[in-house]
């Protein structure tokens, strides 16, 4: 199978592990692995070689740190180098006097229109009044697409139905923004090749006229070696101010981020993580480095958990766990809380691929429909059954299966899972009492 950058790094570092001293020879073996990994992760060849040279120089020149083993030391240097290449997190820019114009540019099929909708929604959730407009007068149904995307994302869209010139459309949208007190105008543009002189000139003209606060280059995370050429050319002609990396919910490692950043100097400001309109996140360079290095994106996971989990319910549950009163109802609540955090696939992708988790299958079969089925089964129980699962006999199981459109076998499976979870909680509780610490920070045992 395609070895991910993460796995490669791990293998490279495993060879370094256990070495008392870092020899040049060992280092070169590891660097060779890292080079392969970077190339397979679509980091541009030149960029990769430059990175390696500077990693090598630092690794050899660095003083031996007593607290770090040689492999840890190399990990740290690689981490620092990738991190410093990606730069610090960078905030979006707004014009001193609204409305700010953000120009959305990129190659065909990179995800400009979807991203425009997502950014619009993101702006709206951050207290702005965005207006989106499509200047793509070339691709069939492109403007209709943005109109539908905007409707889905709940963002205002300027129709400009009777105009046919990109510049006229943008101007009209700007006028409309002033009238409707919109403070950010997102101008979606037609996808184009960086070597298409005529269309690149059109963008330059749009820039000149609109004086955008942001010119965002939308880049497909799956793009290969050519990224430096296309991004470089867009940058040369327009002066990009930021990058949005799309389709990062696949198994692309995001090596393009390094290449594009290197060649344009523009920071990655957003990442797209799915087809839903809220699947957009600000870019956290250290998190992506962590993801590349196999430390997982725990920060994103924790942040999402904090945003969505219901604190009061969590506390209630903690109390119940302490009293070992985990009912089927609580089981269902847990499922719902997890669902609120986003798709399971996204969550699994954020887990670190190290330690016990490193053998997780890559396309872990996180079937959302199965979750739904479990929920349906619990919903088909009576309140009394949910409170005490001992009530659920064969006859009741049949009824629950009918009610939830499943089979008795499915119902049995859910009950088995639930009892397994209960058993684990009991054990955990007993362990907590033994150590006298209760369940971590959740409180002391009663």
């Amino acid at each position: 199978m395609f070895e991910t950058l993460t796995e490669k790094f791990q293998r490279a570092f495993k060879n370094l592990r256990g070495q008392g001293k870092l020899t040049e020879e060992h280092l070169d073996v590891a660097l060779g692995e890292i080079r392969d990994a970077l190339l397979e992760g679509d980091v541009n060849l030149k960029v990769a070689d430059e990175l390696l040279a500077s990693i090598r120089a630092k690794a050899l020149g660095s003083e031996v740190m007593l607290q770090l083993s040689p492999d840890q030391q190399v990990v740290k240097i690689v981490r620092d180098e990738l991190g410093s290449l990606l730069g610090d997190q960078s905030k979006p820019r707004y014009a001193a006097k609204p409305p700010s114009v953000w120009l959305i540019v990129g190659l065909q099929g990179s995800g400009k229109t979807t991203t425009t909708g997502k950014i619009g929604r993101w702006l709206q959730h951050n207290g702005h009044r965005p207006l989106v407009v499509s200047t793509d007068v070339y691709r069939p149904a492109a403007r209709e697409q943005l109109a539908q995307v905007a409707r889905g994302a709940g963002v205002a869209c300027f129709p400009a139905a009777n105009l046919s010139q990109p510049l006229d459309i943008a101007r009209a949208a700007l006028r409309e923004a002033k009238l409707s007190a919109s403070d950010v105008v997102l101008v979606d543009t037609a996808g184009r090749l960086h070597i298409d002189d005529e269309l690149m000139a059109e963008l330059a003209e749009l820039k000149k006229e609109l004086q955008p606060a942001e010119i965002l280059f939308i880049a497909d995370a799956m793009i290969g070696q050519d990224a430096v050429r296309s991004a470089g050319e867009f940058h040369r002609r327009l002066g990009l101010t930021g990058i949005a990396l799309t389709k990062l919910d696949g198994d692309a490692r995001g090596g393009a981020a390094l290449s594009i950043r290197k060649v344009t100097g523009a920071p990655v400001k957003f990442v797209g993580l799915g087809e839903k309109y809220d699947a957009l996140e600000p870019f956290y360079p250290d998190r992506i480095v962590s993801r590349i290095l196999g430390m997982g994106d725990m920060l994103s996971l924790i942040e999402r958990a904090e945003q969505t989990l219901d604190r009061r319910k969590a506390e209630d549950l903690a109390k119940k766990l302490r009293r070992e009163e985990f009912s089927l109802e609580d089981f269902r609540d847990q499922l719902q809380q997890v669902k609120k955090m986003g798709s399971l696939e996204q969550l699994v992708g954020m887990l670190p691929k190290i330690g016990p988790l490193q053998n997780l299958p890559k396309d872990l079969d996180v079937d959302e429909r199965r979750l739904k089925r479990v929920e349906a089964i619990i919903n088909s129980m009576t309140a009394a059954e949910r409170a005490d699962h001992h009530l659920i006999d064969g006859k009741r199981r049949k009824r629950i299966a009918r009610g939830s459109g499943t089979t008795v076998q499915d119902v049995n499976d859910v009950l088995k899972q639930y009892m397994e979870m209960r058993r684990m909680i009991k054990q955990y509780g007993a362990l907590g009492r033994m150590k006298g610490r209760g369940l971590g920070k959740l409180g002391s045992p009663s």
Binding site: L45, A141, D220, Q225, D226, S230, K247, G250
Partner: protein
Amino acid sequence: MITLFGPPEPTLAERLKKSVSRTREVLTMPLGELLAGGQKIDEALLKKLETALLSADLGVRTTREVLAALREEAEQQKITDSGQVRAELKKKLSGILCAPAARNGTVESAPMVIFVVGVNGTGKTTTIGKLANRLRKDNRSVLLCAADTFRAAAVEQLEIWARRNGIEMVRQKTGADPAAVVFDGLAAARARGVDVVIVDTAGRLHTKSNLMAELEKMKRTAAKQVAGAPHEVLLVLDATTGQNGLAQAREFTEHAGVTGLVLTKLDGTAKGGIAVAIVRELGLPIRFVGTGEQIDDLLPFDAATFVNSLLD
């Protein structure tokens, strides 16, 4: 007999050359001079070859294997001059690309059913518009089936291509079950005695197991309506795609039974080298290449031209 290919295209080399010459303006690849001949084959030369192949997205493994074979031949004195390296390299790459025994793309009785699949944004819908045009030129009756019921305005986009081609399209509401649209489309094709049905599918990342399962369901539905359908499953691959292309091809082949590739956006500066790795590993033939946004910018794949553009 219905065939997927029209008469041979004399303009192929010219047209690719046009896009390649634009390429040359942007980047001057020293490979042409490098392989001009008269030089010794040494490590420095092989290193430069490696750079060229990696830059064309052939990937670490394919590049390494091709170079190892060249090195061996040099050691055995089979090739001694840098000029021969070029010819040898071309032979090797063409060999990989021509290896897959392409099905002849024909069915005995109408309608022939073609599924067009791929990740988001590779150019599926545009390719369908162009493919329909090719078939129309070959005097085939074509019906489009708008089974991308997910993406905003995907149906409208396909409808414009149907209109440009003067052909009919079967559609349902946005959000409808794509398998149901396939069912309708194939039923309509049978009723009207259409030669070819092209089914547009929603772009999906190959890692989404539920969406891949949806493709499988669409295939099953098609097979129930027309025996042996889909006869062709074309995976549309963006030439700018890097190493992830291999994972895409693997997953789509496993779940959707891909029968051939369409390499799009070759009019840019990307070489599409990942296609070599895909053909090599999965034995899939490249059927067509896309070289622009116009209706006739779709050409049958030609290995020699493609390899030349890789090495030029």
